[in-house]
């Protein structure tokens, strides 16, 4: 039924759960996966003359590296089950926007994602990015708790 499933991941344990379920599902139904991780750029602010300026390029390099590691998990899980997949990285201050854009770009027909990510407090809430994806998605979203 879902032929192309978008699996956004931030590397969290709950994301891993979503990845495994997506792989299982795609295997059972002959679908394919699009793994996505969104790296957030360094929040540039107006810095005064004497302020400490961290190495911005190193920061961005690191966040991209982490994003690659996160989507590698999708690749590994999919490859293990012979499920066709692609992986992508995006750089955005708005992960939910990058997720929605990726869903359109890759013609996905469902999104499988965690209910909250690293900042997740607990089961009492739905994470802010998941909430926004739910609000803006035009395709079904399967939320893992």
């Amino acid at each position: 039924m879902f032929k192309t499933i978008l699996v956004p991941t931030d590397g969290s344990v709950l994301s891993d759960k979503a990845i495994l379920a997506a792989v299982d599902f795609a295997k059972a139904t002959g679908g394919k996966l699009i793994g996505l991780s969104v790296a957030e750029p360094y929040p540039y602010m107006a810095l005064s003359e004497g302020a400490f300026i961290p190495d911005l390029s190193l920061y961005e390099q690191k966040t991209k590296q982490f994003a690659h590691e996160h989507v590698q998990k999708v690749a590994d899980a999919a490859a293990k089950q012979n499920v066709p997949y692609e992986t992508h990285i995006a750089s955005s201050f708005s992960p939910y926007e990058a997720i929605i854009d990726a869903a359109k770009e890759h013609h996905c027909d469902a999104i499988f994602m965690a209910s909250h990510g690293r900042k997740g407090f607990s089961k009492l809430f739905v994470g802010s990015e998941t909430q926004k994806v739910l609000a803006h998605s035009t395709i079904p979203v399967l939320v893992f708790r």
Binding site: M1, F25, T29, L134, V141, V143
Partner: protein, 145 residues
Amino acid sequence: MFKHILLPTDGSKISEDAIEKGVQLAKSINAKVTGISVLPEYHVFTYRTEMLEDTKEQYLEDSKRIAEQYLAVVERAANVAGVACDTTYVVNDHPYEAIVMTAEEKRCDLIAMASHGRKGIQRLFIGSETQRVLVQSNIPVLIFR
């Protein structure tokens, strides 16, 4: 993979569309479904005019009949698709509570429901009961737009 999917319905058109999709999903992964309809409790003080005109017994009888109509939609869709199906209705002022509890009782492993219900879109990004089910559920929730 999901084996038992709970399909809540409030009788709205958007619910009916979600049921159709939920049944197709079940078919694609050989899962069975349970349809559930939740009706509000009888209250003497209420703005619900139809309730005011009834005695409690009459109201409960009418509710049962309405629930059965909504659930017949689930049964019909399941029969046409060849998906195993049972249905239940619960009287509870909080649909989300009945949905989450029923999912637990019946050992469902997925809840599949519409993003909005009878009250329509109403400038909410996601319906109030769907939101509550999402937050309270211990199992994954699939939200159809």
